[in-house]
């Protein structure tokens, strides 16, 4: 990894006696990064420290190589933030609020007006721009919150639970928008307790639990396609015997077998075993390990 977008060293934070983050060491590359963890895992605390809003009890955090304790203004000039909670004044129109949010990000008045208009169009709120925010639905509010986070064109945007409270359609739209941010050249750190959302939008995952880092790495390395699932018509026993002899690990559930092979391609082993035994199959395909599987496995092993 060249220059990491985010780096923390021995980062700890406590609210009184409650430890929110404990000795967190991270090196996160630019791109779309998912911060996964249950409620209270320390996701929001980590984001607030990265924004310079909280001073860590111990350790250090850097964004673009800038220490968030001593260079918080430089960091904030280059990032955006979509908070989990409400941040929208109900008596302002979407356009006015976005213009203000852009100006707060340091854009001159004329550029702020132009950017506000462009970004409202981008998030699909161009028709609603002159409506007061108090009358917006939850989905529209979430899109407005995302718009204020990117209206000043940051290099990195922190999204704290961006799909919270959204219906399935709204969630889809929000995840689509988040996925597109990467193509705009904006790095994203998105926190969520919904693993599926992270799988859909991110290419790097940080798993937090109880203020500690469980895993941090590329999504692809965590959710490998390394398993074959077969549904059999015939008796599974002969096939299981051959596979076991070939060094595969087989789990049986009725007529379904899940085959893994450490260091070998499970597809080739299954193909050969099927040919040897002449077993008939209904279906056969890869079984990907979901982020949820990884999370549960790592959590279970602790």
């Amino acid at each position: 990894m060249d220059q990491p977008a985010i780096e923390t060293r021995g980062l700890s934070h406590a609210y009184g006696t409650v430890v929110a983050l404990h000795d967190v060491d991270l090196r996160i590359p630019p791109g779309r990064v998912g911060l996964v963890g249950a409620n209270g895992a320390g996701k929001t605390t980590l984001i607030r420290i990265l924004l310079g809003m909280l001073t860590p009890t111990r350790g250090a955090a850097e964004v673009f190589g800038l220490d968030t304790r001593t260079h918080e203004l430089e960091v904030r000039a280059r990032v955006g933030y979509m908070p989990e909670g409400n941040c929208l004044p109900p008596d302002q129109t979407a356009a006015d609020f976005l213009i203000y949010a852009a100006a707060l990000g340091g854009l001159p008045s004329r550029a702020a007006r132009q950017r506000a208009s462009d970004v409202l169009t981008l998030v699909g709120l161009e028709e609603e721009r002159f409506r007061p925010l108090g009358g917006f639905s939850t989905g529209m509010k979430q899109r407005t919150k995302l718009a204020q986070a990117i209206v000043h064109d940051p290099e990195l945007v922190f999204l704290d639970e961006p799909t919270a409270g959204l219906d399935p359609e709204g969630r889809d739209e929000m995840l689509e928008l988040i996925s597109r941010l990467g193509s705009f050249g904006i790095d994203v750190l998105v926190s969520s307790h919904v693993l599926g959302d992270i799988e859909r939008t991110c290419d790097w995952v940080v798993m937090l639990e109880g203020g500690r880092v469980l895993r941090s790495g590329p999504l692809a390395s965590l959710v490998d396609v390394d398993t074959v699932e077969i549904d059999l018509i015939d008796d599974p026993e002969p096939l299981m015997t051959v596979l076991a002899a070939a060094g595969a690990e087989v789990e049986r559930s009725g007529t379904r077998l899940v085959v893994t092979a450490d260091g070998k391609d499970p597809f080739l082993l299954v193909r050969d075993a099927l040919a040897d035994t002449g077993t008939g199959i209904r279906s056969m395909g890869p079984r990907s390990t979901s982020l949820e599987d990884v999370f549960l496995a790592v959590e279970g092993s602790r």
Partner: protein, 298 residues
């Protein structure tokens, strides 16, 4: 025949590569938003009614005084004239200014906290102190409309009526300007910081306005009662809590007028400089407490 068709280009997301104003731009935006918010701009018409009604109450008497002085050929803007002079005008609009501050300070601070907008400020190149000073600057900017505009209308109007030439009279009466500005600053410093303090801790705008007015107006009645009725030693020091009276006492000092015995602080035997010190102390402590509050919550 060729039919010309328009072409729509999807430009997608366009990166911004223009100038960035950083902290200075963020502070300027916060001040401007504060001024707009107080005056009800960019909001529904009903939000504009009260501030502009109070502004009219503060400014229109000055216009009327100049007009009537012209009609009555009374060109002397001093205490002896039927309408009083610059010093008297500060008393005349004192309650209006107090009401305006009671409404404006909560409007500046409370909605940002109540609706979570502080988290937006916290993610921009703006420190908590910047936010507080910018909001306070908004209040002072609008207060200057109340305190200075009518005074300068009178200054220019009376100069136009009395002198041979307007410019000559403006120069001859230029000594009024420092007194006007200084007295306006005294009123602003006496009224605005306590209102800011209450608004920084109250959750509702109406509660903040009510508490502030109670402290400033009802509190004065209590203080007067204590000063006059109590026989306890040191009871006269209660007069120092009559916050609303200090600017009047200092104003008389600035204009070189003998202290009126109507003022409780004067009755209690304090010199005007004590009132000046009280104004500065209350303002300083109030603003420090507001800063402390926002350093913790932003």
């Amino acid at each position: 025949m060729t039919v010309r068709r328009g072409v729509v280009y999807d430009l997608g997301y366009v990166r911004y590569d223009g100038p960035r104003l950083g902290r200075r731009g963020a502070v300027t935006a916060t001040v401007r938003d504060g001024v707009f918010r107080i005056l009800g701009f960019r909001r529904k018409a009903r939000h504009k009614i009260l501030p502009f009604f109070l502004l009219a109450l503060a400014v229109l008497p000055a216009v009327a005084f100049v007009g009537f002085s012209f009609l009555l050929s009374n060109f002397a803007p001093d205490a002896e004239s039927p309408f009083g002079g610059h010093a008297e005008y500060f008393s005349l609009i004192g309650t209006t200014v107090l009401l305006f501050v009671a409404l404006a300070a909560p409007e500046l601070l409370i909605p940002d906290r109540r609706y979570g907008v502080l988290s937006v400020y916290s993610s921009r190149p703006l420190l908590p102190d910047d936010y507080v000073w910018a909001r306070f600057g908004s209040l002072l900017a609008v207060l200057s409309l109340f305190l200075l505009v009518p005074q300068f209308l009178m200054y220019v109007g009376f100069s136009a009526l009395t002198g041979e030439t307007l410019m000559g009279e403006l120069i001859a009466r230029a000594g009024e300007i420092p007194k006007i500005v200084l007295t306006a600053a005294v009123y602003a410093l006496a009224y605005a910081p306590p209102a800011f303090l209450v608004a920084a801790y109250a959750k509702r705008k109406a509660v903040a306005s009510g508490v502030y007015l109670a402290v400033m107006l009802v509190g004065m009645g209590l203080v007067a009662g204590i000063v006059q009725a109590t026989v306890l030693p040191g009871h006269r020091f209660a007069a120092l809590a009559a916050l609303i009276e200090h600017p009047n006492y200092v104003r008389d000092w600035i204009y070189g007028r003998s202290a009126t015995q109507e003022l409780i602080v004067s009755q209690a035997g304090f010199a005007p400089w004590v009132s000046a010190v009280m104004i500065v102390t209350v303002a300083g402590v109030s603003l420090l407490l507001v800063l402390r509050r926002y350093r913790r919550s932003m």
